[in-house]
Symmetry: C2
C-alpha cells in the first residue's frame, strides 16, 4: 500500500493550527488553508475582533492571500480546507473565486452556506465532516471559556 502523507486530514490539521492561533487571540477559533498540488499557498484565521472587521473571516484572508500568491484572482485547481462550514459571505467569495474544492470540518446549521443555500460556482465541489468532532470541540471549548470569563 502506498503511503499518502498529504491527505485531507493532513491539510485539515494545518487549518486547525490556524484556528488555534485565533483561539489564543480571543477570536472565535476558525482557521483555513488553501492548497494547490499538495502545497499550502495561503493561510488565514479569524481576526474579526482584532481588526474590528466583520469581513476578516479565515477564508476571506486565505482567498486574498492565495490570489496574491498565484498572481491571479481565480483559484482553479485549489482546495480550501476550513475548520468550520463557510458562511454566506465566505461562500459568496468562494463563488467568485471559482475554487475547485471546499473541504470543511464542523457544520454550521444556522449560519452556514449549506442550509442557507448560498450558490457556489458550478465548478466547485464541497464536502464537510473532516475532523468534525475536533472542530466542534474546539469551538465549544472557546465558548465555554468566554462564558466563564464574562
Amino acid at each position: 500500500m502506498m503511503i499518502q502523507p498529504f491527505d485531507d486530514t493532513y491539510f485539515m490539521k494545518r487549518a486547525f493550527q490556524e484556528a488555534e492561533m485565533a483561539f489564543e487571540k480571543g477570536e472565535i477559533p476558525v482557521g483555513a488553508v488553501i492548497v494547490i498540488d499538495n502545497k499550502i499557498i495561503a493561510r488565514g484565521h479569524n481576526l474579526t475582533q482584532t481588526l474590528n472587521d466583520v469581513t476578516a473571516h479565515a477564508e476571506m484572508q486565505a482567498i486574498t492571500a492565495a490570489a496574491n500568491f498565484l498572481g491571479g484572482k481565480y483559484l482553479q485547481n485549489c482546495t480550501l480546507y476550513v475548520t468550520l462550514e463557510p458562511c454566506q459571505m465566505c461562500a459568496g467569495a468562494l463563488y467568485w473565486s471559482q475554487i475547485s474544492h471546499i473541504v470543511y470540518g464542523a457544520r454550521d446549521l444556522d449560519r452556514g452556506c449549506i442550509n442557507l443555500k448560498t450558490k457556489l460556482h458550478p465548478k466547485t465541489t464541497i464536502r464537510g465532516g473532516v475532523m468534525e468532532d475536533e472542530a466542534s470541540e474546539l469551538l465549544k471549548r472557546f465558548f465555554i471559556q468566554r462564558r466563564n470569563l464574562n
Copy 2:
C-alpha cells in the same frame, strides 16, 4: 415645504462618483458610500482587477472603512448606498455588520442577493431602484466599451 438636501438621490450620486472612479480604472463600475446621521463615513469602489482579489467589491471596502471610522464592527444606524444590488458575498458581510439600511440602484437578477435569497440581518431593511436607470446605463456603457476594446 422644507428643503431636504440630504435625500437618497444625494447619497446615491456620491456612490456614483465612486462607480465612475472604478470605470476609469477599467473596473466594473460599482460604487458605494456608507452614511450615518447624513454624514458619509466610508466610500468604496470595485477594485477586483486592480487588486487581483475577488473580495475587493465596493461594499466590502466600505464596510471595512466604516467599521474603522466607528471603532466598532457593527454598523447600526448606518445606511449603505450602492449603485448595484449586492451579491451574496457582500450581502453576507452586511448580515454580519447588522447594518440598518441598504439602498441600491440597479438590480442584478442573476447574481444579486434578492433572487439568490441571501439572508440579511433581521434589523436590516433593503430597498432598490434608486437611480436604477442611470446605474444600468453606466454598467452597459462599460461592457460595450470593453467589448469594443477586445
